[in-house]
């Protein structure tokens, strides 16, 4: 224990230093930082993925093996324990994997420092990707990397708790007012109506429905303290104050899906990943999925996505692009969808997807009006700070929270 603490302490204090040491051992200090040369011949691709679980790892490994056999290259798929950290280390060590997952929220961090190869337009039929996803992975006018797949938020309703409160399909909320009304009926029966996580990745959906967002469309202006955002947070605050909604932690759950699965809340706002969790952990809970209720400015949801990033320093860029082409074909995306429940990022796969998963209509319909993550570099700590303040939303003044967010966002975007 003691030693452990010392060791970790040492790790923390000298983390950067140790990293440097490994960087120093990996290569001498004389590399000029030019773009890596394309190497011909059979490539040995290194692929680093941030896997959601065994199902995804197996599916990607199979697909990579199939591509390798067909193209005469080799492809090694490594599931990361902590993708951000591992990627950070390998980039610092000048030895990044050739292909890796890039989370949409992190994309600009990598693109802005030149770690990514902007190959987006070289894949087959790039206009087939949903426009909102293409926007997410565009930086300085360049479409950098092909969206792997995506998820959107929707409203999940526990059928049993819903009927027990005397509610029917007609009561499924499509506006904020209806949501409040249905929640009040659920609360009268002693059920916590809604579990919503205290992060901009859930609460932010209300901001979109209200017509606001943290940054402007081009990601260059901070728009956090707009009246629309204040209205959205005030609405969420009302739900929390009146006991119509609760954060999952207060319900003793790690996330909304857990609270929902345990029957501690009748509704939750989560993405399509909840399907897997419900099948695995709570197979007996019956639920339906609906589009999020519309706010004053219409429907709104958030999308989450990864892209297949190719390292600017990769030695096998052409092979890597070829690999990504194979991974983003309609057929392959449908295989992934079936294996681990993600939605294809290509519009042409949409009909196939709805045919295969009719219950997921609400998720894929969200693609039309979904808002991607904040696409400006170095915003992560600012947004984490906002998340931390959302924790106190029930008591705090929404204007103050958004004012702080505005100030920090401006400081980050400006500098």
């Amino acid at each position: 224990m003691r030693r452990n603490r010392f060791r970790s302490g040492a790790v923390a204090v000298f983390a950067a230093g140790t990293l440097l040491a490994s960087a120093a051992c990996g290569d001498s200090f004389d590399d000029g930082g030019e773009a890596a040369q394309q190497t011909s011949g059979p490539a040995a691709l290194q692929i680093l993925i941030g896997s959601s679980g065994d199902a995804e790892t197996a599916a990607v490994k199979d697909a990579a093996a199939a591509w390798a056999t067909k193209s005469g290259n080799t492809a090694t798929v490594t599931p990361a324990q902590d993708l951000t950290q591992q990627l950070g280390q390998s980039l610092a060590g000048d030895n990044p994997p050739d292909v890796f997952y890039v989370d949409a929220g992190r994309f600009t961090d990598y693109a802005s420092v030149g770690a990514l190869e902007p190959y987006g337009d070289k894949v087959d039929n790039p206009d087939d990707f949903y426009q909102s996803l293409k926007d997410t992975f565009t930086f300085d006018g360049k479409f950098y990397c092909a969206p792997k797949d995506f998820s959107t938020l929707a409203l999940e309703i526990n059928t049993d708790l819903w009927t027990k409160a005397g509610l029917t399909d007609a009561d499924i909320p499509t506006t904020w007012d209806q949501l409040t009304a249905a929640a009040q009926k659920l609360k009268a029966k002693g059920t916590m109506p809604l579990a919503v996580a205290d992060t901009r990745d859930r609460v932010g959906a209300f901001m979109v429905q209200s017509g606001g967002w943290i940054v402007s469309k081009d990601g260059k202006q901070a728009t956090a303290d707009s009246a629309e955002n204040v209205a959205a947070l005030t609405y969420v605050q009302t739900l929390l104050k009146q006991g119509l909604a609760s954060y999952p932690k207060a319900l003793d759950a790690g996330w909304g899906g857990e609270a929902f699965g345990k029957g501690k809340a009748a509704m939750t706002i989560e993405g399509n990943w909840i399907k897997g969790a419900m099948t695995n952990d709570f197979p007996n809970v019956k639920y339906t999925v609906h589009e999020l209720p519309a706010g004053p400015k219409g429907k709104g949801t958030l999308s989450f996505t990864n892209c297949w990033g190719i390292a600017a320093k990769s030695k096998f860029k052409e092979q890597a692009i070829d690999f990504v082409k194979a991974m983003t074909s309609v057929d392959q995306q449908m295989t992934y969808a079936k294996a681990f429940g993600v939605m294809p990022s290509r519009e042409s796969a949409r009909d196939q997807y709805t045919a295969a998963f009719p219950a997921d209509k609400a998720f894929i319909d969200g693609a039309e009006y979904a808002q991607g993550p904040v696409n400006a570099p170095k915003m992560d700590s600012v947004l984490a700070d906002f998340d931390a303040s959302l924790n106190t939303l029930a008591k705090a003044d929404p204007k103050t929270l958004l004012g702080t967010l505005q100030k920090n966002t401006q400081a980050t975007l400006g500098g």
Binding site: G9, A21, G32, Y247, A250
Partner: protein
């Protein structure tokens, strides 16, 4: 200075310092300088070769320490002076040198960086202020218990008290997560007494704020709400540790007091029983024996335990990483975790390294201060008279 005394001094020198060469008695500074000098053919006498041998013997350690400690520290210090973004080596020419900017952003520029850092410092001050005294007193108490001559089954108790210290901190952290869950064991026991336990790991309220709340002070008085040093308001500084932080403190106290108990126990066993008995014969009470016989003899150990405690608590990392990641509302953010997060999650390696160097300085300064406070003083301290 006569020749005779010089010679004897040299002999003393040799016997005390092992293979130190004869130096001709020219005062300590010169002797030291010559000792460092490479032995020439006519210098150093018959023991000259031993110097080379000595350096050769320590060379492996010096090389290892140099490569794995000194070099990384210097490299990290360089990184803390740059705006390196984690692309390739930080020693290339293209890496922007920013001087002390990473440091000034932590202290003088109003912004998120400073607020996060100061929040983490605040959290850690409360953490250290509570954990170090409590774990030291607890460890001493346990050691006195186990050292009791009348106690049966000493081996069992020693093992039991030491057990938390040898268990993996990650495993213990996970167990504590379950215990402090909203419907976990702790809240179960509390509800048995009719107390509605808090949602431990999502409760960001500070203890001092909670206590003030009892007296009806829910909102900060304007004198405290507006302004305060280093980017946080006085009200924020005076929040006290959050409920979530208290749970982590409980865990750390529980796990580390076993180790320190062992150190106290070792020291206690070298306290001669006769001293204790003599003071008993002199009519000293139990408290007086502890205060005037045992504790003074434990002083070196006390210093060790306090120093180790201070260093360990300022560097607290794994419990935070496993249990809370700085949440809720940043009340369990500590400088060590913030440094890690800033570097590896935000790719701001320069600021991350800067934070770790500031943390290093804090620890060094506090340890020196503690040494000064605990230094040996000849005159008796009057302020403890009333205890007698």
């Amino acid at each position: 200075m006569s020749t005779v005394t010089t010679a004897s001094a040299d002999r003393d020198d040799r016997s005390a310092g092992g293979g130190r060469p004869a130096t001709g008695g020219r005062g300590p500074r010169q002797r030291f300088g010559r000792w460092l000098r490479w032995p020439g053919p006519f210098r150093g006498g018959i023991r000259g070769n031993e110097r080379i041998a000595g350096w050769l013997f320590v060379a492996p350690v010096i090389v290892l320490l140099g490569i794995f400690f000194l070099a990384p520290i210097i490299m990290a210090f360089w990184v803390s002076l740059t705006d390196w973004q984690g692309q390739g080596s930080p020693f290339k020419s293209g890496v922007p040198f920013v001087g002390g900017d990473n440091y000034t952003r932590l202290f003088t520029e109003d912004g998120l960086a400073r607020r996060d850092f100061m929040t983490s410092i605040r959290n850690n001050i409360y953490y250290v202020a509570i954990v170090v005294p409590v774990q030291t007193v607890l460890a001493l108490g346990l050691a006195l218990l186990v050292n009791n001559r009348m106690l049966k089954g000493k081996g069992f108790f020693r093992t039991a008290f030491y057990f938390p210290s040898v268990t993996s901190s990650v495993a213990i952290s996970v167990v504590f997560l379950f215990m402090f869950a909203n419907s976990g064991a702790i809240n179960g026991i509390l509800s048995f007494f009719g107390i509605d336990g808090p949602a431990w790991f999502s409760d960001a309220r500070g203890l001092i704020h909670l206590i003030l709340g009892v007296f009806g002070v829910d909102n900060p008085p304007s004198a405290l709400a507006n302004g305060g040093p280093l980017g946080l308001t006085w009200w924020d500084w005076l929040s006290g540790p959050s409920v979530a932080m208290c749970a982590i403190m409980a865990l750390v106290i529980w796990t580390t007091s076993g180790t320190f108990m062992l150190m106290f126990l070792a020291a206690l066993q070298s306290v001669p029983v006769s001293l204790d008995e003599a003071s008993e014969l002199d009519g000293a009470t139990r408290w007086q024996r502890l205060r005037y016989v045992t504790l003074p003899l434990l002083k070196p150990t006390m210093f060790l335990v306090l120093t180790l405690g201070l260093i360990g608590t300022w560097q607290v990392f794994d419990q935070i990483y496993v249990m809370s990641q700085g949440n809720p509302a940043k009340t369990t953010l500590t400088p060590a975790f913030l440094s890690y997060r800033t570097a590896f999650k935000d790719f701001d390696y320069g600021r991350g390294a800067a934070i770790s160097f500031v943390l290093f300085l804090i620890i060094v300064v506090l340890t020196l201060a503690q040494r000064w406070v605990m230094r040996d003083r000849d005159e008796p301290r009057r302020r403890f008279r009333w205890l007698r």
